[in-house]
Amino acid sequence: MKFRNWLVGFSVAVMALGMSLAQSGKLEIFSWWTTGGEAAGLLKLFDIYKQQHPGVKIINAAVAGGAGSNAKAVLKTRMLGGDPPDSFQVHMGHELIDTWVVNGFMQPLDGIFKDNGWEKVYPQGVLELLKWNGHYWSVPANIHRANVMWYNKAIFAKYGLTPPKTYDEFFAAAEKLKKAGITPLALGDNGIWASTHVFETVLIGTLGADGYKGLWNGKTDWNGPGVKKALETFAKMLSYVNSDHAARSWDQANDLIIQGKAAMFIHGDWANGDFMAKKFEGYGWAPAPGNADIYDALSDSFGMPAKAPDQQEARWWLELVGSKAGQEAFNPLKGSICARTDCDPSLFNPYLQWAMKRWKVDTIVPSLVHGAAAKESWVAAINDVMTLFVTRRDVTQAQKSLAQACVDAGVCH
């Protein structure tokens, strides 16, 4: 008797659940945005979505942890297991394309781009990175710039320095600072990507925009003199970094600038958010040496899995992410600029206003470390090369390994 009661209760519960699902749609968004400005930006987008589509229940499937490494592992399990979210955060470019698009897990978004007239408001350089096989595969929510050199203004003023434009100027300034007992370049590579990040700007500064882009499609020779020169320059730069770099994370390296112990820091523009969060105002910025007029970009974008369970709700989501209102709401909180070129600059802080101006005129190149330029396995291989190089500084060995990594990635032959 008791069991039967229980059974009835259970069926009622199941029916109620089924009805609630039928009545209103749902939308499941997968990301690794769980803290700080990025989580605030995501929730803001959810708020706008709820106003636009009040019936839809939003499921925030965010997975915490270091630069998305945990989230990516969870996502792989779900995608391969046939249980994809409706839309997920992914770095624009090869991280999305080589992992998911090539293998047929995503659907093209040409219709959304055309219906919303996005081809006119996104820069050409970004449209190229979003495209594969003639179709668009994701909607960029924001743009971060990777090749920025941050510096402590007080130190620069004290030693009469200006932001170095070339590597010669950089080493001259570094030598001066070293003699004065100040760490010239801050580095926090407890995650090795921070070193690869600096190397990426050196590759750009040495090879130029076209030479750098050629590395990722086999047109620039990894065994050539350019890469050798870049490795030598980077090795020399490493002799000017703080000795405890392996113990620090990127934000702890940024602390050296704030405390006035180090003068320069080559890092992405999330450092700007870190300065502001720590209420430090004495910082300046410039393109990394040799990186003038080149915008090394990375973007968090959202795509739609081919088997997304709630197609219409996902489409609404992507339209919001790519819209002017969506980008203007999200980016000031995230500390990044709009991927669109028509956002209102007055909503943004001075650094971001500078970046927005550069975004319209600079040559855009894809970031390596942050998934835009090469597929994940290639990035992992380059990180491995850098782990050994930072300590051993063996240029010949590193160049050989980098060339091999290109062959392993199936790009070089």
Partner: protein, 292 residues
């Protein structure tokens, strides 16, 4: 009697099946995977490629460093935990006041997760804080880079592991020491054995089984150590891979680079290394049981 056996078998059957599938089935699957070309998320024509993945593995400088690191870690961690554990157990077994309190204090680290230990030791061994600061305030100028020094790396992590597991070996030894009959010591005393001789010829031989179990437990921990390394040195394996271990390399290879077959190869190498340790132990312990 016969009926009892059948019931026993039926009761065991579900877990036997689960173990067969989820342990041995997956071991075989991993072994097979490591012999194929499935080194991407989606490989159109998966096929057998022989030992290619293993050949590449043993050419990879990172993997060779990892194997060396595992050896260094084991050589510090296992003897360290055994010696500290035995020392603690001998002191406690000698009869101290508040023995229960000491036992709890020494055992406590074992109850912590490796992540907790790792984070604490990460701070302790941070070059600009923790132990260095402590040494400095004591007037010692020992500015070690700890795990951030490529010449130390894994050795610093072995220290943290010793801290965590020597209490556990102490507990094992304490039980072993308590199990030795008092009469033997009394007889030795009557025969005029010195305390050194008593230790050397009575205590040590009689606690050999404990030592063996401890070596197995500590040995397999040192082969599969992962979380402690990640918590202390981060997931890049430290400067020049000085704290990298095979399990971490396996994780990165499989879940970050999507080289599933290569990752399965690393797992298989680890399994073989562990089985060198466990199979002789199992044979020995089964043989002793049969004797009894």
């Amino acid at each position: 009697m016969k009926r009892n056996r059948r019931i026993a078998f039926l009761l065991l059957l579900p877990s036997l099946l689960l173990v067969a599938v989820f342990v041995y089935g997956f071991i075989l699957w991993t072994g097979w995977l490591s012999l194929t070309n499935q080194n991407d998320l989606f490989v159109p024509h998966p096929h057998f490629i022989g030992l290619h993945n293993y050949v590449r593995l043993f050419q990879n400088p990172r993997f060779l460093i990892d194997l060396k690191n595992t050896a260094v870690f084991s050589l510090i961690f296992i003897p360290g935990s055994l010696i500290l554990g035995l020392g603690g157990a001998l002191l406690l077994a000698g009869g101290v006041r508040f023995e229960g309190v000491f036992r709890t204090i020494f055992l406590m680290p074992m109850a912590l997760s490796f992540i907790v230990t790792g984070v604490a030791w990460r701070w302790l061994m941070n070059p600009s804080s923790g132990l260095n600061l402590l040494f400095h305030s004591m007037g010692l100028n020992l500015n070690s880079g700890w795990y951030t020094d490529p010449n130390i790396g894994i050795k610093a992590i072995a220290l943290a592991a010793i801290w965590q597991l020597s209490g556990y070996t102490m507990a094992l030894y304490l039980a072993g020491l308590r199990a030795i009959p008092k009469e033997i010591y009394e007889a030795a005393q009557v025969d005029g054995a010195s305390s050194g001789q008593t230790f050397r010829f009575i205590t040590l031989p009689l606690i050999t089984p404990v030592t063996l179990s401890a070596v197995i437990v500590l040995g397999h921990i040192s082969l599969k150590i992962f979380d402690l390394v990640v918590a202390i040195a981060g997931s890049s394996g430290g400067p020049a891979f000085s704290s990298d271990v095979p399990a971490l390399f396996m994780f990165i290879t499989t879940f970050q680079a999507n080289h599933f077959a290569q990752g399965a190869g690393i797992s298989t190498v680890l399994l073989i290394l562990v089985s060198f340790l466990v199979i002789p132990y199992l044979r020995w312990s089964l043989a002793t049981e049969a004797k009894e």
